[in-house]
């Protein structure tokens, strides 16, 4: 039994090692906040929510179910699910970008708090799990667009605030950030 466990553990360790060392390379954090292209890190997809709401409007649903033949309605529903799925993927990417920004702030901070970092990591894990489950709901067709709207508002809110805060930090550079590591 010990042999089986240790062999599996060794294989898992080797796989983890290869992935950590040679997995899809992660872009290094910028060497300073002013070198960052903050725009690239801010959420994009949630900005298009108005168009999505228009596409997924309830009036269209009522119209299609009353007027269109059954097969057309099925196609329309499938297409609606596809758009929702794509939009949810976009929101996931947005959240990922925000997470990246949070980690970047931590990486470029001379001091970070353990509890804070742990909480951000935990929030990321929670979001990813929920995101998968919501994805499943969309796949099974039991998800309303107005619920997605709430999610989009949240991401957009975080984005707006971060943008303001980052520009406040970056404004007086480099005098305000001229601090080197000494460890």
């Amino acid at each position: 039994m010990t042999i089986v466990i240790t062999t599996l553990a060794s294989l898992a360790i080797l796989l983890a090692l290869f992935w950590l060392l040679f997995g899809r390379p992660a872009a290094e954090p910028a060497s300073s906040i002013d070198a960052l292209e903050i725009e690239k890190l801010l959420p994009l997809h949630c900005r298009h929510f108005a168009q999505i709401v228009q596409i997924l409007g309830e009036e269209d649903h009522q119209f299609i179910s009353k007027r269109a033949p059954r097969h057309v309605e099925r196609q329309w529903r499938a297409e609606r699910r596809r758009i929702l799925r794509q939009y949810l993927d976009g929101l996931g990417q947005d959240f990922g970008q925000l997470g990246r920004l949070a980690r970047l702030i931590a990486a470029l901070s001379p001091e970070v708090r353990k509890t804070q970092e742990w909480e951000w990591m935990w929030l990321g894990v929670q979001f990813r799990l929920l995101y998968r489950m919501v994805g499943l709901r969309i796949a099974f067709g039991s998800f309303a667009p107005n619920e997605l709207a709430r999610l989009a508002e949240m991401v957009a809110g975080v984005a707006g605030e971060l943008k303001t805060r980052m520009s406040l930090i970056a404004a007086p550079l480099p005098s305000r950030l001229g601090m080197n590591v000494s460890d």
Partner: protein
């Protein structure tokens, strides 16, 4: 009884590779960036000479050879642990906040794993060799555990690992991971009779040395410039805002799920 012709040839080949790596490391001035790794290479060559002398003059099954082998093995293992810590430090210390965050975790993990190794060795009712193998397995697990945790920090914070550091880490991790499994095979009364496990130990070490050779083959890249850090207090100003928003986002997503 000394070494057989095959064992002598294999030992000579391994020894030559180790000397070559040490020579290249000294030529590339690796000691400026990685002093512990350079010292480890020096220890490796020295211990090979010590083992060869013991095996050749007292016989491979003598008590002196046994003592020499396991003493040098213990020293090398400790040196490998120091190298792993050094690799984590080299990769993370430019990011002061992250390094301060990571260091206690590395130390805590090392303490836990060493204590675990100590406990499992204490419970071992086997003969001396089996007890040593249990201890070695626990310590190898410590080495590779520290390495993986350090690399996970690098990955999470997207801190790039320099090419030579990656190859050295791969060599250390690969050897330790193989030894964790190998030591379990060697403790099994039936499986231990097959010579393949001892061969696996040697071959895995030779593979590790090839990785280290790759690491020092080319001149080392220049040291990375230190990043310009945020002013003290910026993190404290930014973090709560982001946390509140991210928490809300998760709560909302949770509501949607319900």
């Amino acid at each position: 009884m000394g070494l057989s012709l095959f064992q002598s040839s294999q030992w000579a080949a391994s020894f030559l590779i180790e000397v070559l790596i040490l020579a290249l490391a000294l030529r590339r001035r690796v000691f400026r960036q990685l002093p512990f790794f350079t010292a480890y290479l020096g220890l490796l060559v020295t211990s090979e000479v010590a083992r060869w002398l013991a095996f050749e003059f007292t016989g491979i099954n003598s008590t002196i050879s046994f003592g020499t082998y396991w003493t040098t093995q213990g020293i090398l293992l400790l040196a490998r642990a120091a190298v792993v810590y050094e690799l984590c430090q080299v990769s993370l210390s430019l990011y002061a906040g992250i390094w301060r965050l990571c260091r206690p975790f590395l130390i805590a993990l090392a303490v836990i794993l060493v204590a675990g190794a100590e406990v499992s060795t204490g419970f071992s009712v086997h003969q001396l060799a089996a007890t040593i193998l249990t201890a070695e397995r626990g310590l190898e697990l410590t080495v590779v555990g520290i390495l993986i945790l350090g690399l996970a920090f690098c990955r999470y914070y997207r801190i790039g690992i320099q090419r030579h550091v990656a190859w050295i880490a791969l060599g250390l991790g690969f050897y330790s991971a193989v030894q964790v499994a190998n030591n379990s095979f060697l403790q099994d009364t039936v499986l231990a009779n097959f010579p393949i496990w001892e061969m696996l130990r040697l071959v895995s070490f030779n593979i590790a040395t090839v990785f280290w050779l790759v690491a020092v083959w080319k001149p080392l890249p220049a040291l990375r410039p230190a990043p310009v850090l945020l002013a003290r207090g910026e993190y404290d100003r930014l973090a709560p805002q982001m946390t509140v928003r991210l928490r809300e986002l998760n709560t909302r997503l949770l509501e949607m799920w319900k």
